[in-house]
Amino acid sequence: MYYWRTDLRLDSLERRFLSQYHISKVYCRYFDVVMTDDGPMPNATITFTDTLPAGVEMVPTVYITEDCMHQRHDSLAAQLVRRILQMNETNDIRSVRELQIDCDYTARSRQRYYDFLKEVKSQLATLHPSCAPSVTSVLRPSAPFTLSTTIRLHQLSMTPPPVDYGVLMVYNTGDPRRFTERNPVLDMRDVAPYLRYLADYSLPMGAAYPVFLWQRTIAGVSVEHPVSADEILRVKQTLEQRRPELSRLILTYHLDKENILRYQPDTYEAIYHH
């Protein structure tokens, strides 16, 4: 499950949800990386007021805006890995063995993003107790560090990225400007054109489905885009028919009390059903 707030603080309902649906990993957004005049910079860093329940693995996740990948930034991979490790160290977050990067890369930025991922992977591989004593407590040096990335539907037509696995983002599939015609969060008609790429995409993959309500303001007026449970399950079923492997790793976006209460337990049972 994704955790996308700026303060890690779980209430009893959220804790019960993680336990009830046997959620073993939380992909927690640590910070964003945004382009500034001084180059790529971290933004909206999470505060760790709370900890995850015992037995739930933390997967640090970083969202990088696409424009950061319009040109090469030599030290970005090293800075990013070092910052994540320092955040783990400072906040006593242990047993971290995976990192996920989220980026809406395009044909323009793809190659630089893939090069960046290779550098991140290489940074993770060089971690050794002797050269990074401060991180030995938060890593398991004996186990290889896993790197994953998000895959958006339009990215399925490209060569897969150099990571251990991808998470297919099955949300924000539509054009936000055409919100009166289709739900921009999820609509089977927007997913359909990409189904043909699924079976042959040569990267292990899981899938992430939306349980959030997109509330936005258009010309000062609040507009809501809720996704029906039927639509989520219809899309999930269709995707898994084309690629059964997707049922092995199922995520939802994102952990929040309001999202938990939005759907019936039956819906969550069906979403997480393997």
């Binding site: 971290p42 320092q86 400072t90 919100f179 009166t180 258009i218 010309a219 000062g220 007026v221 609040s222």
Partner: protein, 673 residues
């Protein structure tokens, strides 16, 4: 560059207006029961003023500089201030460090050091609570607590100690921190009351972000009919509803949103009715005016007019009463037919609004803007004199465009109106606010006659305008460097690089418009006595002048103040290109092959046509644009006539024709070749 910018801006403003009379919505919010006096800005200003006064700075804009203050304090032997600012510096460094955490995430040791620093500053501040700078130190103490997460301590401290301090900007800031601490410790209602009272809109909106609905407002009213939060929530709700209505034509899909809003808005009207009936609130004027404005927005305008009248005299703050008056002005103006009675009402109410417009509060200026552009401009559409004087009185951005496109006779009436004594109350209000620029108006009347090719009348008005007026116009660089006698189809008069963007002041030798008008009058007057070859040559020469003065010509400044690629013939203006074409058609009948060729070539000049000899198409396969000939177009026919002439004449094709790239491209497509 300056000149270029001026011309560009002129067109940026006026171009959209040519296509549609009032394209901008001017949809400023009219429901404003509390002022937009943002807490943060107010505090920043007050603290900044305090520091500036302490160091004796006279800078126009002052920004706090700790070192500067310390130096000033040392000079004054103010040891307490020195130590306070030093400690404040330590606190601010911690705050900045937290705010600026970039790639270097703090280590445990750094965090521990930060905590230690904050605790040390906090201890220092606590020890100075009985000094003459007790308020400053108390604020520092609470700031440290806030960053250390000691919110309950701040609650206790403010209640037991700081709240008893004398009124000052420091106590206001402490109270704000106290409200934040209340929120963090679960006492959100008390927090909201303080945020609302202080005008801390940002904090309120953060707190109420997900509770900005009819239900939330109703609950808040039931909890406390005079809750300080209610004006903010109601303001947000009503203005939100206004957006739904105002934006209906702009945003696709707004109808869907509006239907939701309309239902909720009508619920809010019912609630307002109940509130007024129950009389538990001190702010009945606010509720009644909210109801009236919502009714108005959602089409129940007559009901709105009755409701807003009832709001007059109801209880409320001064601001709420003013808001009632603004809404009454707007709704009454919109709902009443144009009449003497309405004019008298407007005269009184606009004069009142003017007394408010000059204040720092933008609400009143925005209200005037909306009233003028959304109501009065349409109301007086059939009374151009009234419309133009209202636009002028309100300093409307559309005044220039309005006078530029109005009929010349009407503009002359406006000039007469300016010098006549006021006979009605509304005129009495409008006349002193006209700020007429007679040179510009005389030039404009003369130019309007030029646009109608009425050269004699044009000269009468243009003769009143001094040369300095034209020297100061943005187009003086073009007027000084271009000639209307040059054939535009043979030579384009591009200015030397940099000339258009230089700051050079151009001194014209004569009034360019006056000279042109006089010459045109003379040349056209002589046309009737000319015949044969001389007449055809005169037609050609006149065509050159018309083509140059048209909006696509190099001497466009003769007819207008600016130029744009998207321009067209405007209202109350003769199409000069058509005049040129008609004259060229006569010239092309000449038996003189050279003149005939010149006239035919001129008639094929693209600058004389809206529709070119081809249509631009896009080839999806080659990803490139291509030209598709359009034989039905006048431009195509003109090129064909030229091509046919060149094919059949015994005369050698002139170089200016054979070298013309446009002609060559045409020939490639022309089926005869």
């Amino acid at each position: 560059m300056k000149r270029f910018i001026i011309i560009s801006l002129l067109w940026a403003v006026s171009l959209p207006l040519l296509a549609c009379a009032w394209p901008a919505t001017h949809n400023y919010y009219l429901f404003s029961p509390c002022a937009n006096d943002e807490f943060n800005e107010r505090m920043n200003k007050l603290t900044s003023d305090n520091w500036q006064a302490y160091i004796g700075s006279t800078a126009e804009y002052y920004y706090f500089d700790a070192d500067e203050v310390i130096a000033a304090a040392r000079k004054k032997n103010d040891a307490l201030m020195v130590s306070y600012v030093e400690q404040l510096q330590r606190y601010l460094a911690c705050a900045d460090e937290k705010r600026n955490e970039r790639w270097e995430y703090p280590t445990k040791a750094q965090l521990a050091k930060r905590t230690q620093t904050l605790k040390s500053v906090r201890a220092y501040a606590q020890g100075k609570l009985r000094t003459r700078l007790r308020s400053q130190h108390a604020l520092l103490y609470m700031r440290c607590n806030m960053m250390l997460g000691l919110h309950q301590k701040n609650v206790d401290f403010y209640q037991q100690t700081a709240s008893k301090f004398i009124e000052s900007v420091y106590r206001d800031m402490m109270e704000n921190i106290y409200a934040g601490a209340l929120l963090k410790t679960g006492r959100s209602i008390e927090a909201a009351d303080i945020f609302a009272r202080q005008g801390d809109w940002q904090s309120l909106m953060t707190q109420f972000y997900k509770r900005r609905s009819y239900d939330a407002i109703r609950q808040e009213y039931l909890r406390d009919p005079d809750s300080a939060v209610l004006p903010f929530l109601l303001k947000d709700f009503v203005n939100n509803a206004q957006e739904a209505v105002d934006g209906d034509d702009v945003m696709p899909g707004k109808l869907f949103v509006r239907n939701i809003q309309q239902k909720e808005a009508m619920q809010m009207c019912q609630l307002a009715t109940q509130v007024v009936q129950q009389r538990k609130s001190q702010h009945l004027a606010m509720w009644q005016s909210a109801k009236a404005w919502l009714q108005f927005l959602f089409g129940k305008r007559q009901q709105a007019a009755r409701d807003i009248l009832e709001a007059v005299g109801m209880s409320g703050t001064e601001r709420m009463q003013d808001n009632v008056r603004v809404l009454m002005l707007y709704i009454t103006a919109a709902e009443s037919p144009a009449s003497q009675r309405l004019d008298d009402f407007l005269a009184t109410e606009l004069a009142w609004l003017d007394t408010k417009v000059g204040t720092d509060d933008r609400f009143y200026r925005n209200a005037l803007d909306r009233l003028v552009h959304q109501v009065l401009a349409q109301k007086y559409e059939r009374q151009p004199l009234r419309a133009v004087s209202i636009l002028r009185a309100a300093d409307s951005q559309y005044y220039d465009t309005y006078v530029d496109t109005m009929q010349v006779g009407r503009l002359q009436q406006y000039i007469d109106y300016l010098s006549a004594p006021a006979t009605t109350a509304l005129d009495g209000y409008l006349k002193p606010r006209q700020k007429a620029d007679m040179q510009a108006l005389n030039d404009l009347v003369g130019t309007k006659y030029m646009r109608l090719c009425q050269w004699q009348q044009a000269q009468q008005w243009l003769a009143k305008v001094p040369l300095t007026y034209y020297n100061n116009k943005g187009y003086a660089v073009y007027a000084a460097n271009r000639r209307y006698t040059i054939e535009p189809w043979v030579t384009r008069q591009w200015l030397k690089e940099g000339m258009e963007y230089s700051d050079r002041k151009w001194q014209l030798k004569s009034n360019p418009k006056l000279v042109f008008a006089a010459e045109m009058q003379k040349m056209e007057g002589e046309l009737s006595i000319l015949s044969g070859q001389a007449r055809q040559q005169r037609c050609y020469d006149l065509a050159v002048r018309y083509a140059q003065a048209s909006f696509t010509g190099d001497c466009w400044f003769l007819m207008r103040d600016g130029k744009s690629w998207g321009d067209s013939v405007r209202v109350n203006e003769v199409c000069l290109a058509d005049k040129a074409l008609a004259l060229l058609a006569t010239a092309s009948l000449s038996a003189d092959a050279a003149l005939k060729e010149r006239a035919l070539f001129a008639m094929s000049y693209g600058g004389l046509y809206q529709q070119k000899w081809y249509n631009e198409r896009w080839d999806a396969k080659t990803y490139d644009a291509f030209r598709e000939p359009n034989p039905a177009s006048r431009n195509y026919k003109a090129f064909a006539a030229l091509a046919d002439f060149e094919r059949t004449t015994s005369k050698t094709v002139s170089l200016y024709v054979s070298r013309c790239d446009e002609y060559r491209q045409f020939l490639k497509h022309y089926h005869h070749f």
